[in-house]
């Protein structure tokens, strides 16, 4: 499956230092009182970078056929799609609170 039966090896220790640095940075991001949205963006960004480094260099995706990379990326895209599809459920309570009128505002028409 490899494009040219690769025997070359990337510098694994460089990748290791990158992964270690990103892990330390992740832990450091948690310490200060940052807004949750900024924390989430930074942490998810760093986690995805680490995952990409592992997949590209340790799992040798860089040396495989492009077709395989497309196959591998697909489930990640589907997972993102899954989260997006769950979004309406996540905000359901908040939206229902806005729609349902309080009982005191209901007009009693039974006497007419």
């Amino acid at each position: 499956m490899a494009q040219d039966g690769h025997t070359e090896h990337p510098k694994y220790m460089n990748i290791f230092w990158w992964l270690l640095g990103l892990t330390v940075a992740e832990v450091l991001v948690v310490i200060p009182d940052l807004p949750i949205a900024i924390k989430a963006i930074l942490l998810i960004g760093m986690a995805c970078s680490k995952a990409a480094l592992v997949a590209i260099y340790f799992m040798h995706l860089k040396f495989e056929r492009k077709t395989l990379s497309a196959i591998v990326i697909t489930p990640f895209l589907i997972c993102v799609f899954l989260v997006i599809m769950l979004m309406p459920d996540l905000t359901l309570d908040a939206r229902l609170d806005g729609i349902v009128k309080p009982a005191t505002e209901v007009v009693d028409t039974s006497s007419h």
Binding site: M1, T7, H9, Y12, M13, I15, F16, L19, L20, T23, E26, V27, V29, V30, K39, A40, L43, I44, M46, A47, K50, A51, V54, A55, F58, M59, H60, T67, L68, I71, V72, T74, P75, F76, I78, C79, L82, V83, L86, D89, L90, L92, D93
Partner: protein, 216 residues
């Protein structure tokens, strides 16, 4: 001449046939793609439950879980991924004893990880984080109204990952035994590459679990 042109054209258009080496690798990739969906569904469910619970209905994970310990576990898995690629590099260079050494280190990394996870679970259960409840004391936050769903989701996701690590350690031990018996050479080593794919996947998943469960 025309015949040669036709052959060249054919080689350009069609993928080469799968060999026993590439077939095994493709099989592992297909398994990993399916497994990604399993973990993706678990993490998406966790995100949905947490977002649905709101700020007051969910335990802040950093008040219950030990980030320092799990950061150490993450470091351990990253190290074991490096020893795994070193094992593959060694056998591709024909060095069997070095491959066995690095495979042994990878197995040791996996076993220490499992030991730390068992320690963490024992500690959490003793402090009241169970499948049906959260610790009643020791939480800094006063806004928590109590979320009984934190425990089940936490144990389901980390437990599912722990099972994968356990499977990976057993798989690595089998490959190590084959290696010690002289099965692998510089020319025949695709089985080592395939177990490496599995092990790196376990590492990759932990990177996501660490971020979503422990840090966010």
């Amino acid at each position: 001449m025309e015949h040669a042109t036709t052959l060249d054209h054919t080689e350009d258009v069609y993928e080469p046939s799968l060999t026993p080496d590439s077939l095994g690798k493709l099989g592992m990739w297909i398994f990993l793609v399916g497994d990604t969906m399993s973990f993706g569904a678990l993490l998406a469910a966790y995100a949905a439950l947490r977002a649905g619970a709101g700020v007051v209905g969910w335990v802040p994970p950093d008040e219950i879980l030990g980030i320092n310990l799990t950061a150490g576990m993450t470091f351990l898995l990253i190290c074991s991924s490096v020893t795994m690629v070193k094992a593959l590099e060694s056998i591709q260079n024909g060095n069997v004893s070095r491959m066995c050494l690095f495979l042994g280190l990878t197995i040791a990394g996996g076993l220490i990880f499992l030991g730390l996870q068992a320690y963490e679970w024992t500690h959490l259960i003793k402090h009241g984080l169970t499948l049906t409840g959260i610790p009643e004391h020791g939480l800094k936050s006063e806004t928590i109204s109590g979320s009984t769903l934190f425990g089940p989701t936490f144990y389901a996701i980390t437990g599912f990952h722990g099972l994968h690590v356990t499977g990976g350690v057993i798989y690595l031990i089998v490959i190590l035994i084959h290696g010690l018996r002289g099965r692998y050479t510089a020319e025949f080593n695709h089985e080592v590459e395939i177990v490496g794919l599995y092990w790196h996947f376990v590492d990759l998943i932990w990177i996501m679990v660490f971020t979503f469960i422990y840090l966010l």
